[in-house]
Symmetry: D3
Subunit: 245 residues, 6 copies
């Protein structure tokens, strides 16, 4: 099996979160897999709404372009809204996986229904739209927001982590679910501990995405270039976007 280089793109500019995400990716990577954790050089320090996502999408595309030039074997979009996913698939020749889809797919494989625990209430609609797009509305029993910003997860206080834990426990009690999906890349480091403690699959999308990229790679499957995910039509991009082509 040839080595596999996976580019893990944290779509925000937080270096701390990039490290958290990179570590989570490395923790599950196969022996032959190399994880390259990156974040855009410009953009927003956290992604907490549609506006932030639009900006993040450009950062994702820049990084995908760079990763492609470096010959990586797959790209991960490590933000729970999967910003720029289909655009990135157009650009890439190799597989691209969003962590929301990764976590949701995995959840349906180990439980009949799952819940999602995310950060701010305003991001819940993003998860709702993804559930609809991906086809998992019937598999998601509830969405919970801990009502703390994304970057609270990078603080040492443990407050955000405790809230995640509380919401997971509460969801277990009342939602009748068999699994919980963590709805933020910044929660990547909590999944395994919570899985152990709660005796229920608590799923992080970053690690899930690593395995899906490895899987597609090993299967010889890559983003289809037939039809609507074909490479973007070549056209002159002006201004700050000129570097994107």
């Amino acid at each position: 099996m040839k080595p596999c280089v996976i580019q893990v793109i944290n779509p925000n500019t937080s270096l701390a979160m990039t490290e958290t995400i990179g570590a989570a990716a490395r923790a599950v990577a196969s022996p032959g897999t190399e994880i390259v954790a990156v974040c855009p050089s410009q953009g927003a320090p956290s992604i907490e709404g549609h506006f932030d996502e639009a900006i993040a999408a450009i950062g994702v595309l820049e990084q995908v372009k760079q990763g492609k030039a470096q010959g990586v074997d797959g790209h991960i979009i490590a933000c729970f809204g999967d910003p720029g996913l289909l655009a990135a698939r157009e650009v890439a020749s190799k597989p691209v996986i969003g962590i929301a889809e990764a976590a949701m797919h995995m959840a349906t494989l180990v439980a009949t229904r799952f819940s999602i625990v995310t950060t701010l209430p305003r991001t819940v609609i993003i998860a709702r739209h993804l559930l609809q797009r991906y086809g998992f509305e019937h598999h998601c029993a509830a969405l919970h927001a801990i009502d703390l910003p994304v970057l609270a997860l990078e603080q040492d206080s443990g407050i955000a982590q405790n809230k995640v834990r509380e919401y997971c426990i509460q969801s277990l009690r009342q939602d009748g679910v068999g699994a919980i999906v963590l709805g933020c890349g910044g929660m990547a480091d909590l999944a395994q501990e919570l899985t152990q403690e709660l005796s229920i699959p608590v799923i992080d999308g970053v690690s899930a995405a690593v395995k899906l990229i490895e899987s597609l790679s090993a299967l010889g499957l890559t983003t289809s270039k037939q039809g609507d995910l074909d490479y973007p039509i070549a056209k002159p991009l002006s201004g700050m976007f000129s570097s994107l082509r």
Copy 2:
């Protein structure tokens, strides 16, 4: 009734198309309405896929920000994929309407089922996703692509226009629809003529969006700032995005 200034944003950088769109908007604007047709200073000359849309979304946000600073009463995103729609709603204090949603909403008010005639086959998936998001899957009987690029609509040859016309006629014959939605801002000037010729509502989203903005404005309704469309959370945007806040 106080005058209403509507910013019509062509998300691509084609000035010709910006003019086409602006003219279509003016043609239906109420006496008290002023149309300001703009396009991003940088971006892609046409929007024909997810990648182009991601770029277009940034252009849309820049223009919404500018329009907001100028005190416009509403913003139209004049590309059939409605790129950046929810992000723009976050940024704006006034209503924001995409031309795809505008055309689809209007179509459901005059017919039980409609079809869509768009440009390149690869953009069909974008329309499909919007139909799902907006709730109109059951109202859309068919999607057709004329298989010509967006900018072919700006050429004088009339080839693209003829193809649009042919597909409309064909759709009428075989799809059992009562209305046709034109799936590109560049088709804005064709709607009225086709409506006359085919004796069926052929709907252009640009003009439809103008009336919806005027309507919301007159009703005193604007984008809800309660919940998930609230203004983006203030945070330092770096690099080329710093001007967006």
Copy 3:
């Protein structure tokens, strides 16, 4: 812009409610728009269930026929169940808009999800069915009934109005919605005040429908006469229905 005459049909026989509805329509009508508020000469004093709706539908058709003879430019069905909507579209040559659809469409343009506050619990199922028919099930987060009859809204006590207000506030707190749809023509006069007070779009379908008729009219769009909304097939109607043709 040529003047536009809009017939606002209150499908029940309450003159007080016809006035409320007419006033709400006039309050938002464009300068060139004339509002003709009518109600059937015979029928039910309020519409609170499927049986009442069946009766109301006939009244609607009679009025549409009269309005058509008078050359009006559009018809509004001012009862939240949109009774007789598709039948009226068959009869009319001009646009016909129901206030439920009008309010729901507008709500989706200013918020990602809305709730509905209606009168009696037994009318909730009617709204549910409309949400399904129109495609807005995913956009409606909750339905609330104030549990007072329609005509309580015409009393001076303010009891019903207070209940509407309470339910709106409660919905804001618990439903995670960005807009509220008022589910009864008799609530038309409450929308603007509540919109102000609650800082959230509170949407009345009567005024929304006025703007949609004006919009379609200005766009040169009218009910499609191709296909299933074509004029009713001419046939001898007997008895009390003979006047309907």
Copy 4:
């Protein structure tokens, strides 16, 4: 088992069709069941659109009221659009079944997917809406219209009957269905012959509804009077509707 009197309401005023329908009902009625076939004294001679249905609904309600006064054990609405179904359920104390729902329910019990063969193309939308309302969209693979008016089925030429037969055969070949639903009360007499000839369940809703009424009656089940199908709220109905209460 006590005798069961079933009122079969042909919602149009065609006496010939009332007889066809009555005969179809009697052909499958249990020994203890009496069929009373009626039609409204006033209304439309055939139901071929939403307008006709609105009129038919009143005729249905009048007849349900009469049948209720006569103490019948159940009511059948023998028009494929099930006009006035929920209104009739409000009025009735006994079960009310529409022939569209009856045929569709039965079809799902003998095949995984069915098609519908109806009369005029403009009635297809009515069947579509019922499929959605009843939950059978996934079970219906195709809808076909023979493009002949309802009353063509009452002519002796056999032309309409032949067309029904042709469409059934064609549907069998191309739709991959296991059963066919006849989409008009006037086709009630064709079902058994076609079932024999085509070796596939060809389902008539009139006879199906008879058995469902008998079934509910024997089970001691009747229209729920808890909640939204409770008797209409008593209120003064004016004009031609005064006799409805």
Copy 5:
């Protein structure tokens, strides 16, 4: 009317429950109908999950085969998960009805929305999947589990029966439903009493299925042998399955 023999198959091996079910079936059977209540000679004493259902399906198929050899006129699968339903339809030449589908169908005929009261929480997912398959998701407002095993219903203490009654009352208060479906064959004897006491249709699938089989039989309708419910393709079954062909 020729006599009708209905085989009621209790898919578990509990003789007591087989008797309960048989009695419920006989209580509603028409004079000319003979009920043959059977259960598999081998299998599980109760069906409370997917594993139990897989076993039950084989028992059902054995019994259907035997019933077919005996020339019965229809088969009922008397377990709320309808185990083996489509497989049994392949094997049978006569109609096969599951009690879950029977109850759900009947519920939609007497109420706009229903709830389900079942046994163990782990069986709720089975009902959910059936609602989706059958198309009744929109008609089911809530699912409740009394949290007692199936066989508790066969004990004389009345504890399980009381719990069923409590949940029915609670559902009536909070779910806004017009009917309640009892979600276990072992509750068959409770339906009529609860219907009386609660003045709402409380529906047992066993008795409902009896009437549906009688109905299909009288209509000359049987499981379609065209297409995907055709008899199983003849092939050598080995080992313990050799007796199934």
Copy 6:
């Protein structure tokens, strides 16, 4: 990384197909993964309908039980109907993956829409039901049956293989899809060649399932034992099923 033993269960008794499937599994297994390909000692030689599936489910459960006793790290159900999937998840403590779900999940990661090419027309309904259950209805554009039995794929003539190839090519031309899912375990050996030849992802579920098991295993995720996939409730199973517990 500790070695991973994956039990690949061919639910039919064909040894040739078991070998094909085992080889396909081994071809993509990671270095540390051992593939144990098994089939039930008794059952049906091919699975081509619901009846065959019911039998296959028991074989699957027997093998899962044996694999569990042997301490395997995951189980694959290598028949495109995923027979016994949820039952197997109840029995297993380790992950269980069906090849239909595996292929469908993977297809949605590399294309916006896919088609399915399966064997006999009667199995199409099984795939339809799975698409609905798994949430992928919107992602599947078309289902095609080559109209040859499963075991034709094990013959040396190449006829079946050619038909698969033809249908893939035809689907590419007309369905507008970006990927093709092979709808039978017996097609496992065709995927890679067709992927190469057609320049589109042609997806085999067996190999996809291997990677998903490896992925879940590496992630420390396993079938949730909280809730409805908990181990079957212990109860005396009689007769031929006694060995299942």
